[in-house]
């Protein structure tokens, strides 16, 4: 562990993404990976290595680069969301937003088995456009819990790739991918005892989207634009609450016909 002193920037606003402390000012952001002590500086759209970065463990450098990329993209009007997204056969993207464990990845994988292409498993990039938004891929392997092998038998053939350090023992799965697609609808999944797709109010959708785009809370000069653009997206695309059981693992494409624009 590094003995690097904590980030000090009294003029900035402190924030945290996972184990990374961020201090943002109007001109730059300082990212401090607390387990390793490594730091990265984001100045506009540039990522600059700072103290201990070069000697930090690989996972720390990946964490910092990921968080730094989110902030650099934001300076270009592109917003990383904690969400999955799948593109239907017509080329329309459906965004699945929500906290970990609500079924975002599983539903995306279920759709990929039904011929849809995937933009992201645990993250996508949102680009607001005059008429709505375009979703861009955020490339990370799609991972599916090995506990779903009874629903998705093909998982058994890839059990050697199971991540044994993962509490959900997920397996990275090869999937058809897409680069970008226009946003058709926003889906907020929730595991439930029944299956139901219901329209969501715009205010509720925006409130839930803020939680999945936490960089909006950096409270820097970009925040008003970021917040206004999230508002534009929920005002432009319909939002739905999807309460789902495991039945949806085989029926989700049909269910989403009711949400299609």
């Amino acid at each position: 562990m590094s003995g690097a002193p904590p980030v000090q920037n009294p003029a900035g606003t402190p924030w945290r993404i996972g184990p990374i402390d961020i201090v943002a000012t109007d001109t730059e952001a300082l990212l401090h990976d607390t387990p390793s002590g490594a730091r990265l500086r984001v100045s506009g759209t540039r990522l600059l290595r700072d103290a201990h970065y070069a000697t930090a463990p690989r996972d720390a450098r990946i964490r910092l680069a990921r968080a730094g990329a989110m902030i650099a993209l934001r300076a270009r009007g592109l917003y990383q969301l904690h969400a999955s997204a799948a593109v239907d056969p017509r080329g329309i993207a459906f965004l699945f937003a929500g906290p970990s464990g609500v079924g975002k990845s599983t539903l995306a994988y279920a759709l990929s088995r039904q011929g849809w292409r995937i933009l992201g498993d645990d993250g996508v990039v949102l680009e607001p456009t005059p008429s709505g938004a375009t979703l861009h891929a955020w490339r990370e392997p799609l991972q599916v819990s090995s506990a779903l092998a009874h629903e998705f038998p093909e998982l058994r053939a890839r059990q050697q790739f199971e991540n044994v350090n993962d509490p959900r023992r997920r397996i990275p799965m090869p999937i058809p991918t897409a680069h970008h697609a226009p946003l058709g609808a926003i889906i907020f999944p929730r595991r439930a005892a029944c299956d139901r797709l219901s329209p969501m109010s715009q205010t509720m959708a925006l409130a839930e989207l803020i939680v999945q785009s936490t960089q909006v809370l950096l409270a820097d000069s970009e925040t008003p634009r970021h917040f206004a653009r999230l508002r534009h997206v929920v005002a432009s695309a319909p939002s739905f609450r999807l309460e789902h059981t495991q039945k949806q693992l085989h029926a989700i494409a049909l269910t989403l016909r009711d949400a299609a624009p």
Partner: protein, 86 residues
Amino acid sequence: MRYRAIAEALVATLSDGAVLLNLQTKRYFSLNETGTRIWEMVQQTAEEDSIITTLLNEYDVDEPTARSEVRRILDELLEAQLIVPA
């Protein structure tokens, strides 16, 4: 009583209400249509009594209900540190 909105609040008005973001506390707050109207009047530093009068003119509501609703929303906005006494 008169209140004012804090400078660190961002507002997104939507078809069914508004979402307020308090950049100091890093918390968001949702308002329905009536709450959004009350917020608009607070931003103009309106007196509590004048907010009630406006609601009575604009909505089909009796005075005790309007008074109680305005007080409830103002209390919630105070609790969320989105407004302070002017």
